[in-house]
């Protein structure tokens, strides 16, 4: 089956052309129909810029220098504006982090959802009223007929994010890209919004790419996970196997530093050091400076090691070292 969204060897940089700041270094990622991929990493690791650049929304000065992004077979790198406009919203729907600022405060939410329809199907906003109400109902907004006439400030954060998802789904896109869709919401509402996203993907055969730093969210909704560090994907695989037996020391560190409600653990473990900043990335393995198991070989770029279902970028994956305990899968129940 071909991937709904296929990113290959994507390089992104910003700043002056003669002295660029490299933000993303050769990202490979594919999202299959009906699956949810979680893209996790710390702030500044390049996860958001990867998604936004792929859609040409990263803003002025951020550019793709190499690689390819295909949505349903359409190449987006170097595509003209008309193609990009057709793809945005039509093939790839986007949900943003902050549901309040992603809606125009001066327009009724029904009009904003209708706007997404008008942009791809033409006609007047009023002509799409029925579908707007259907969409609002589908994302679980109670009394959608009345709510369509509400302004964003009249809705709670959770409802606003549902509206944003309704906008993203308006034209039945094959791919849903969500940039930290639940970060601005409180925990109980997060679960409801995740249900909506899950229903929109698995039940309707859509592909979804969710950018987040919340491993709990990944465990809950994602089928596959890609871990980003310093502009690279360091590990990719099925959620179950990555969480049960992380291959990359950074993934292990991330999993170990989650707060858990397990007895006997008193102090939250933390990774030493800080992630390197863009522009100051070391030549070899970017994680070597913080890695507890770094050795001399780590000064060279690590090879990609493929497992049964996934891969990692490390010189010394734990399979070479049977003495190490993998993180116990039971600990995930947090």
């Amino acid at each position: 089956m071909t991937a709904a969204l296929q990113i290959e060897n994507l390089w992104i940089e910003a700043g002056p052309v003669d002295d660029p700041l490299v933000l993303v270094r050769g990202v490979d990622l594919s999202v299959e129909p009906g699956t949810v991929v979680g893209l996790v990493g710390e702030s500044g690791s390049g996860k958001t810029v990867t998604c936004m650049s792929a859609l040409g929304l990263a803003g002025a000065g951020v550019r793709i220098t190499r690689g390819s992004v295909r949505a349903q077979g359409t190449e987006l790198v170097g595509a003209d504006e008309a193609t990009m406009r057709r793809v945005r919203g039509g093939v790839v729907g986007t949900v943003f982090q902050d549901p309040l600022s992603a809606l125009n405060p001066l327009q009724r939410i029904g009009d904003q959802v209708a706007e997404a329809l008008v942009l791809h199907r033409g006609g007047r906003r009023r002509a799409h009223r029925e579908r707007v109400v259907t969409l609002l109902a589908r994302v679980g907004i109670p009394a959608p007929e009345q709510r369509a006439r509400a302004y964003p400030h009249e809705l709670s954060g959770g409802l606003r994010q549902r509206v944003a998802i309704a906008m993203a789904l308006a034209n039945d896109p094959a791919v849903l890209v969500a940039d930290e869709p639940t970060t601005a919401l409180d925990v109980t509402v997060q679960a409801q919004v995740l249900d909506v996203i899950r229903a929109a993907t698995r039940d309707e055969g859509r592909a979804a790419l969710i950018v987040t730093h919340d491993l709990g969210l990944v465990a809950e909704v994602a089928d596959r996970v890609a871990v980003m560090y310093a502009g690279e994907i360091v590990e990719e695989g099925a959620v179950g196997s990555v969480f049960a037996a992380p291959q990359h020391p950074y993934t292990r560190g991330l999993l170990a530093s989650r707060p858990l409600l397990a007895p006997g653990r008193r102090r939250l473990s933390a990774m030493a050091g800080r992630p390197p900043l863009p522009g100051a990335w070391p030549g070899g393995c970017a994680f070597a400076a913080r890695c507890p198991d770094a050795q001399t070989a780590c000064a060279e770029p690590p090879p990609v090691r493929r497992g049964d279902d996934g891969w990692s970028r490390c010189w010394y994956p734990p399979t070479d070292d049977p003495g190490r305990d993998p993180v116990e899968p039971q600990e995930r129940a947090g």
Binding site: L57, A60, F96, A168
Partner: protein
């Protein structure tokens, strides 16, 4: 909708401005053509409440015996046409240039803002004098000239707001839904810059009415016998000690018009200045509208 109390700070200046405009454009016609006729026997007659006043000329007469009421109102036509016309032109140009500079950024932004900076460095009144001396001083010429004198402020205000709005999440979100640049500007950006520009427009009207008066006073406005507030004042200055009313009425009209335009601008700004700083004009408006 909740009903608000009538805001006098907004409606009073607006009402006075409307009265001034209606009076200037309808008044001379209602008063009849006699007002513009010279009557050398009635030269420099004082207003009705002073001794020596002439019947039917309540505000006195000028050096040619023309009725000051009718002259003043007719003079307002030129001053207001030039003031309102040029302010509108300046704001329209400022909107377009500000949208292009703020939205496109990069080379366009640098080019437009450099021109604006250079423009402000020129002594505008001196250039206006030179231009009028060369191309004449019809009303369209004056409007065009003062438009060029007022476009920098609305351009800067618009650009500042556009730069902020264009990176708002909902604009990026609309782009993510497939909206074109033109659509984004029309539907999401333009509504955000219009209130600030109405404020700028109001202040610009006041500033340009003064500048038109200055040009006319210097003899470079519309040519007599067509009156404008500036050239009536100019004609009246030799008689200032004996016949103050020739200068007083047009001067009073300029003061009232400019004060009302500024008060209207302030009231609009106050009305739209919400907590989030939707109207970023406060700092920009401290710079002069025109030299």
């Amino acid at each position: 909708m909740r009903r608000r109390r009538l805001d006098l700070r907004l409606w009073a200046p607006l009402g006075v401005l409307l009265v001034v405009v209606v009076a200037c454009f309808a008044g001379p016609g209602l008063l009849g053509p006699e007002g513009a006729q010279q009557a050398l026997g009635e030269r420099l007659a004082p207003p009705a409440w002073l001794s020596g006043a002439v019947d039917g000329k309540p505000l006195g007469t000028d050096a040619f015996g023309r009725d000051m009421l009718s002259r003043t109102l007719e003079g307002g036509r030129v001053s207001l046409q030039v003031g309102f016309g040029a302010a509108t032109g300046a704001v329209v140009i400022g909107l377009v240039l500000g949208l292009v500079a703020g939205y496109r950024g990069g080379w366009w932004d640098r080019a437009i803002m450099t021109v604006a900076d250079v423009w402000l460095a020129f002594p505008f009144l001196v250039i206006a004098l030179a231009a009028v001396a060369v191309v004449g001083s019809d009303i369209p010429v004056l409007v065009a000239l003062l438009t060029l004198g007022g476009w920098v402020l609305p351009t800067r205000v618009t650009r500042t707001i556009v730069q902020r709005v264009r990176s708002e999440d909902y604009v990026v979100a609309a782009a993510g839904a497939g909206a074109s640049d033109l659509y984004l500007v029309r539907r999401h950006v333009l509504p955000q810059v219009l209130p600030a520009n109405l404020v700028v427009w109001s202040f610009t009207v006041g500033a340009l009415v003064v500048i038109e008066g200055a040009l006319s006073f210097l003899g470079l406005g519309v040519k007599p016998p067509t009156p404008s507030w500036g050239n009536i004042i100019s004609d009246g200055t030799p008689f200032l000690e004996t016949a103050w009313w020739v200068v007083a009425w047009p001067a009073l009209m300029i003061v009232v018009t400019v004060m009302c335009a500024n008060a209207l601008g302030t009231a609009l700004r106050r009305r739209w200045q919400t907590g989030s700083g939707v109207l970023d004009t406060s700092t920009a408006l401290d710079t002069r509208v025109a030299p």
